[in-house]
């Protein structure tokens, strides 16, 4: 082990460094911060982590995170049940909800097709999506405009075709405040294809 820390503190650093986005140095900083805190505060934090893990689970319908049997969005009868917005993870649900422009249901894929990392459709909730899509009119694919996002979109749209469901993708193109002069040709081509009437 590379660290000079020993015993319980070294174990804590090891555990923290397993968290996503936390390297060894950050783990050391967090561990040292935690041991300087009052014991009650650390106990409270530990209790919150255990409680969240116990009570928060994926919604059986859409895969969004929920504490109840099904999530608030699926339970809300006022939402438009003829549209499903497909997202990579639960964080994307929050982002789209913040926009205030969408009133349909969601489907959380639990990742994105990433062929170079060996992540394929069967590692995601694609089959569940196909089952749900039989009862809707439109599926909006809201994944990042990356190579992985394109692979996911193309694959899902192919599966949706026999169902006769309208499949759309979030528009991509020039960002608000963007500059034509600095736009790359892929972005410009997509902006032209996705142009809207004013």
């Amino acid at each position: 082990m590379a660290t000079d820390y020993r015993g319980k503190l070294a174990e804590l650093i090891d555990e923290l460094s397993r968290l996503p986005g936390i390297g060894r140095r950050s783990a050391q900083r967090l561990a040292l911060y935690l041991i300087r805190q009052p014991l009650e505060r650390v106990e409270e934090l530990a209790a919150k982590m255990v409680e969240s893990r116990r009570h928060v689970h994926p919604c059986p319908h859409c895969g969004n995170l929920s504490e109840d049997e099904c999530c608030d969005i699926c339970a809300d009868q006022s939402r438009d049940r003829s549209i499903i917005c497909v997202v990579e993870d639960a964080a994307a649900v929050i982002s789209i909800e913040r926009s205030g422009e969408y009133g349909g249901l969601y489907h959380v894929l639990g990742g994105i097709i990433s062929p170079l990392d060996g992540v394929g459709p069967e590692d995601l909730t694609v089959n569940e999506l196909v089952k749900r899509a039989k009862d809707v009119e439109e599926v909006i694919i809201a994944v990042n405009p990356s190579v992985e996002g394109d692979a996911t979109t193309l694959y899902i749209s192919k599966l949706m075709k026999p169902l006769g469901v309208k499949v759309t993708r979030l528009a991509s193109g020039l960002p608000v405040g963007g500059d034509l002069e600095y736009a790359d040709s892929v972005t410009l081509a997509r902006a032209l294809l996705g142009r809207t009437e004013v």
């Binding site: 986005g21 097709i113 062929p115 170079l116 990392d117 060996g118 394929g120 459709p121 069967e122 990356s146 190579v147 394109d150 692979a151 193309l154 694959y155 192919k158 599966l159 960002p175 600095y182 736009a183 790359d184 040709s185 892929v186 972005t187 081509a189």
Partner: protein, 266 residues
């Protein structure tokens, strides 16, 4: 440290910290390398749009001789290959090509021929005029030749005689074919026994196809794609050989298979 300008093909991006990415790329001048692109996950970044995988760009980078992670400073577009991303089969094939580069090339060992081979293969897939499987097969044959690890295709590796049988047996452990007259690479039993997973029966036409591809290019086929399962059989031989010698399983082939099934190709 030196400031270098070089043509590169972007192969892969990985998030790094809150706002940056590590970009893996193939440079014409420096080979396979990794660089940090700072702040490119922010919406305001002007660099991000020129660091998309499957594009050829001109890059300015701070090249450190004592580190394996360099700093990407500027980028401008050369070949966006944007049709690749609008067709699932072309996209899946190009990702298999990219993974071969990522997993078979040693880091920072420049090879302008491999760079040209990659750009040409992506261009062919982007244009869509040639069958995707054929482009992938030609790429794999040439890559193995350029890396010096190609299977030997001409004659029996034991006696050197020309392969005349309709079906010949390829032994990855030997790196080539052994004719029926020579003893198998095990002590007891005939050639046709105990082949199991240690050898592959290959048609004569497949050997001829691989030979032609290793010496020429797709253009020499005059726009005709070999049929009759030759491409699949040749691909299986190369996969078997690569896996045996390098222990490399190309993960993106799984997606390629799924994409082919989804689009009704076998």
């Amino acid at each position: 440290m030196s400031i270098e300008t070089t043509d590169v093909v972007i192969l892969k991006q990985t998030p790094f910290g809150e706002t940056s990415r590590i970009i893996t790329l193939l440079s014409r001048d420096f080979g396979l390398l990794r660089g940090v692109a700072k702040g490119v996950r922010q919406q305001s970044s002007r660099l991000a749009r020129f660091l998309e995988p499957l594009t050829e760009v001109e890059l300015v980078l701070y090249y450190y001789t004592d580190r394996d992670l360099h700093l990407i400073s500027k980028s401008s577009e050369l070949n966006p290959f944007h049709q690749l991303r609008s067709n699932p089969l072309r996209l899946a094939h190009s990702l298999v090509i990219v993974e071969h580069v990522l997993r078979l090339l040693p880091p920072e060992d420049p090879s302008p021929q491999i760079y040209e081979l990659l750009v040409e293969s992506l261009r062919l897939l982007d244009e869509g005029a040639v069958n995707e499987r054929f482009v992938l097969l030609a790429f794999r044959v040439k890559l193995l030749h350029l890396l010096g690890i190609a299977p030997r295709l001409e004659g029996c590796i034991t006696c050197g005689k020309k392969l005349t049988s309709r079906v010949n047996i390829f032994f990855p452990s030997q790196g080539g074919f052994i004719c029926e007259e020579c003893p198998p690479p095990w002590r007891e039993g005939r050639m046709t026994e105990r082949l199991g997973e240690r050898a592959l029966r290959v048609r004569r036409e497949v050997i001829a196809l691989l030979n032609q591809l290793s010496k020429g290019d797709i253009v020499s086929f005059g726009g005709k794609t070999p049929g009759g399962g030759l491409l699949s059989e040749a691909g299986r031989l190369l996969g078997f050989h690569t896996n045996y010698h390098l222990g490399v399983n190309i993960r993106s082939e799984r997606f390629l298979k799924e994409a082919r099934e989804a689009y009704g190709e076998k």
